[in-house]
């Protein structure tokens, strides 16, 4: 589904990624772990299409098509989803309005009929219930006044509504206490499926106790240094990133 080949990328003229190779098949859950500044967020933004990130060498293929030439909204419509580390607050725009515009935009792109207000409300209520999200979170302005946990749950709700093929979760555990972490992880686990690939990006192993990955990769100095199974995460938790030439924080 996702093939990253020898990816080099710069931000503001600085080379952050220095030759990443990564293949993710559908149904798989991969975790990328790495210290601060290793290029984890850069990789997630490159997949989602944020401005200011330039690929200088290599490619990102999504179902065999070069992703880097697509606008972010086209990537989303094609099934790429990024759960933000810091979800953005949008005052004055109700969460339901935002979700409806998003879903209908994606449906238009896919040549599907748009949902009317009634159909949409039905869908959103069902999804919110599945994920244990309170109704008032739907009525409130997007992420405004949400707690850290609510913001992350809202990201998972968006993911559930848009039903992506490839979901990238960028530091989903940051700012969450253990209870919130469990709730968010349960939401993600509900969305695991044999047709969907998930890439979890995290600094800490604790998230991976709840979202158990099939593969773990260590990213440091802009390259994947090592790959393995879920036991690699436990090893990192114990030894830190020192053996990859990164000082303890």
């Amino acid at each position: 589904m996702l093939e990253i080949k020898n990816l080099h990328a710069t931000v503001g003229g600085n080379e952050i990624l220095k030759g990443i190779n990564l293949t993710i098949n559908k149904g798989e859950v991969h975790a990328i772990m790495g210290p601060n500044g290793s290029g984890k967020s850069t990789l997630s933004y490159l997949i989602a299409g944020k401005d200011g990130y330039e690929v200088t060498k290599g490619e990102i293929l999504y179902n065999g098509v070069d992703l880097t030439e697509m606008k972010p909204e086209v990537r989303a419509a094609e099934g790429v989803f990024l759960a933000f580390q810091y979800p953005i607050e949008i005052p004055g725009v109700p969460n339901t309005t935002f979700l409806k515009e998003a879903l209908n935009s994606v449906r238009r792109h896919r040549g599907e009929e748009e949902l009317d207000a009634m159909q949409f409300v039905k869908l959103i209520k069902a999804k919110a219930e599945e994920l244990g999200i309170a109704k008032d979170m739907l009525k409130r302005a997007v992420n405004v006044g949400f707690s850290g946990g609510e913001k992350k749950r809202n990201e998972i709700l968006q993911m559930a509504v848009l039903d992506p093929k490839l979901a990238v979760l960028d530091e989903t555990d940051s700012g969450l206490d253990i209870d919130a972490l469990k709730v968010v992880s349960e939401g993600v686990n509900q969305l695991r499926s044999k047709d969907r690939a998930i890439l979890v990006i995290t600094h800490y192993q604790r998230l991976l106790d709840h979202i158990v990955p099939d593969f773990v990769h260590v990213l440091a100095h802009g390259k994947i240094q090592r790959s393995g199974g879920k036991e690699l995460a436990l090893e990192l938790e114990e030894k830190g990133y020192a053996e990859y030439g990164v000082a303890a924080e």
């Binding site: 606008k71 949008i90 935002f98 935009s105």
Partner: protein, 450 residues
């Protein structure tokens, strides 16, 4: 430099030519006020950018295209209908004017409750001139503005709105001014007088819209008295056409424990300036002067406010938000004067502008004059662009860039709309904002039939 005498002379000549047929011509006190207004206008002249409170708003050359005074015939140009504002029959009463002439067939006047009247000023000058003599042109109106003085001389149309002591009306009263649609550009000098007696409450929605593309020039003055314990919610929607000039000054006196709420939404006009001057005269009085403006092309929108705190325990709040596209220009000037006796004044002022183009421009000037010592006043202003991170967030959810930008503009304006306490009006205003987004003007073919 053009000679000031030459600039004012055409208006003086016009006054002499039309004074016999202006409303209330038979009233000696009114004639005296008109003559005084004209004399004041000759002294003060037309505003120029050299005047401190006009420094950011330059008047175009009014000889081009050459405006003439509106006539009775202009009040009978064809109109296709009245642009919709409320989604249903929310308004209790609606007055519709075409170039200053009231049109009963477009209006809805049969549900006026007891103790409320809303009538053309010309009519009240016939039936109850004493009321106008008492309330019009009081010390609240500072004729240091040439155009306000000219209005005092030339005023020919407008509305008198009265609510008797203790009368509370919840449904909005709507006054619609349709302008233009004439072969030649016209100008008018509307004069409004709104008086809320003590303990009364009302919501007034004043709308200005162009009948078609083409120039016209409105020079309006509105005087408002909010009696002790009264509440007036005064909302204005200015949806003039791209070539329209719209100058308006609003003079308000607020009594003891009374509230004056004003929200001005401007979504069109070549040059518009609303100067709102509020005197908080009664202890415990409060005003909220807020607004939103969305401008495109080379439109220019100026919101100038002056709030005077004259007695102890008064509060004021201002939230203005503007969106400027293309070469549009926005101006906000907010002056707060806290007099010596006005202890425990609480004032808040915020002005924010969003520039959608690097050719757009915003000028902001807050001014605080504080003579009391126990005062809480804060103000702030920002000018910025669409937040790229927020834009990416929306796009990453599949929302196309143009739609994402529109959502962020709505989001930006929403903060100002929250100042509107009447939720029906807030919702209708939000629809006007959406209507502006893809670029529009209120042309007749888009209008709904009344």
């Amino acid at each position: 430099m053009r000679n000031m005498v030459n600039l004012t002379q055409p208006y003086v000549d016009q006054f002499d030519a039309v004074k016999e047929r202006l409303p209330g011509a038979q009233l000696p006190w009114l004639e005296a006020r008109r003559v005084a207004g004209l004399a004041r206008f000759k002294t003060v002249g037309l505003p120029t950018v050299k005047m401190e409170n006009w420094k950011y708003t330059r008047l175009p050359n009014l000889d081009e295209p050459g405006f003439r005074l509106a006539t009775w015939d202009d009040g009978h140009v064809a109109v296709a209908g009245v642009p919709a504002f409320f989604s249903d029959q929310t308004a209790l009463v609606r007055l519709v004017y075409v170039n200053g002439i009231i049109h009963p067939e477009l209006s809805q006047l049969d549900q006026l409750p007891d103790g409320v009247s809303v009538e053309p000023i010309a009519q009240v000058l016939e039936t109850d001139p004493g009321f106008i003599e008492q309330h019009m042109g009081t010390e609240a109106v500072a004729y240091d503005q040439g155009f306000a003085a000219l209005n005092a001389a030339m005023m020919e149309s407008g509305t008198v709105f009265r609510v008797a002591t203790g009368v509370v009306i919840n449904q909005p009263i709507e006054i619609v001014y349709l302008n233009g649609g004439t072969a030649e550009p016209i100008y008018r000098h509307p004069r409004n007088l709104f008086v809320l007696e003590s303990g009364s409450q009302a919501t007034l929605v004043k709308r200005h819209a162009g009948i078609s593309a083409g120039a016209y020039f409105n020079n309006a003055v509105t005087e408002i008295v909010v009696g002790d314990g009264a509440i007036l919610r005064h909302y204005t929607i200015q949806a003039d056409c791209l070539e329209a000039l719209h100058l308006s000054s609003v003079h308000v006196r607020v009594g003891r424990d009374a509230t004056y709420e004003n929200f001005n939404l401007a979504i069109g006009g070549r040059l518009s300036r609303t100067e709102t001057r509020v005197r908080l005269e009664g202890r415990g009085s409060h005003c909220n002067l807020s607004g939103a403006y969305l401008m495109k092309a080379s439109e220019h929108c100026d919101n100038t406010t002056v709030i005077e705190h004259l007695v102890p325990d008064t509060t004021a709040r201002e939230v203005f938000k503007g969106v400027l596209n293309d070469e549009a220009r926005g101006v906000f000037q907010g002056k707060l004067i806290v007099h010596k006796d006005a202890q425990r004044t609480d004032g808040y002022q915020m002005s924010r502008a969003l520039l959608l183009s690097n050719r757009a421009e915003m000028d902001t000037k807050p001014e605080l004059e504080i003579y009391a010592d126990d005062v809480k006043c804060s103000h702030g202003s920002t000018t910025g662009q669409i937040d790229e991170t927020a834009l990416f967030y929306l796009r990453s959810r599949g929302i196309p860039e143009a739609l994402a930008r529109n959502l962020l503009i709505q989001s930006f304006i929403a903060e100002a709309l929250e100042e509107i306490s009447d939720l029906r009006v807030r919702e209708a205003m939000a629809h006007q904002v959406i209507h502006w987004l893809p670029a529009q003007c209120y042309f007749a073919e888009e209008w709904k039939q009344p």
